[in-house]
């Protein structure tokens, strides 16, 4: 990990296209301004962790779990198609 010290208002440039600026500093919070091309996804870590964990719990090993779920969906009419 590269650790840099920046003062208020100072920038970091990544790969020519991404820049991060320190917008404000509070006692335990830093506000960062990030500029990047629109195809670069920028997420808070905890959000990525949440999706990661959800993806992991979605891996299905037994097909029949899904069959009964599919049947239930059709019976309950929860899915309109």
């Amino acid at each position: 990990m590269l650790v840099l010290t920046r003062k208020l208002g100072e920038n970091i440039i990544i790969d020519d296209e991404i820049s991060i600026r320190v917008i404000s500093i509070d006692s335990n919070k830093v506000q960062l301004g990030i500029q990047a091309p629109s195809d670069v996804m920028i997420y808070r870590q905890e959000l990525v962790d949440r999706i990661k964990s959800q993806n992991r719990s979605s891996v299905v090993h037994k097909k029949w779990d899904l069959i009964s779920a599919a049947r239930n969906l059709k019976i309950l009419g929860n899915v309109r198609y």
């Binding site: 629109s38 996804m41 997420y43 959000l47 990525v48 949440r50 999706i51 990661k52 964990s53 959800q54 993806n55 992991r56 719990s57 979605s58 891996v59 299905v60 090993h61 097909k63 779990d65 899904l66 069959i67 009964s68 779920a69 599919a70 239930n72 969906l73 309950l76 929860n78 899915v79 309109r80 198609y81």
Partner: protein, 138 residues
Amino acid sequence: MKVVTLQFGELEVMEEQIIRFPKGIIGFEDCHEFVIIDDEEYEPFRWLISLDKEEFGFPILDPFLVVPDYLKEFPASIARELEADDTVMDVFCVVTLKGEGGKVTLNLKGPIIIDYLKGEGRQIILPSEDLSVSYPIS
């Protein structure tokens, strides 16, 4: 090419069926090739099966079947592409099964977008805090 999967055993997969995920799926960044498998037994669910990891596959669902106005959650540029008449893009959400014959939930927060023309897919995270990773659909 022949592929061995946990869910379907050995499958014959055509080159043009393979969807490349340059950045993998969140949490599985080393899975770069997937195929979508349909089996009418599971309709309307479909399967996104990894060609890189034999045991990795998960059920997916067209989210518009349960959330008709889902498109409004997408950034304008992506929504525009999805809405176009001649669109080559599709959205799927990952399905999670909880317990035996129990609850089924949909991850509306992290949809998967497929571009069939490029043969590429990626998972994105939508900004709205109202979207759930486990939206109940049963």
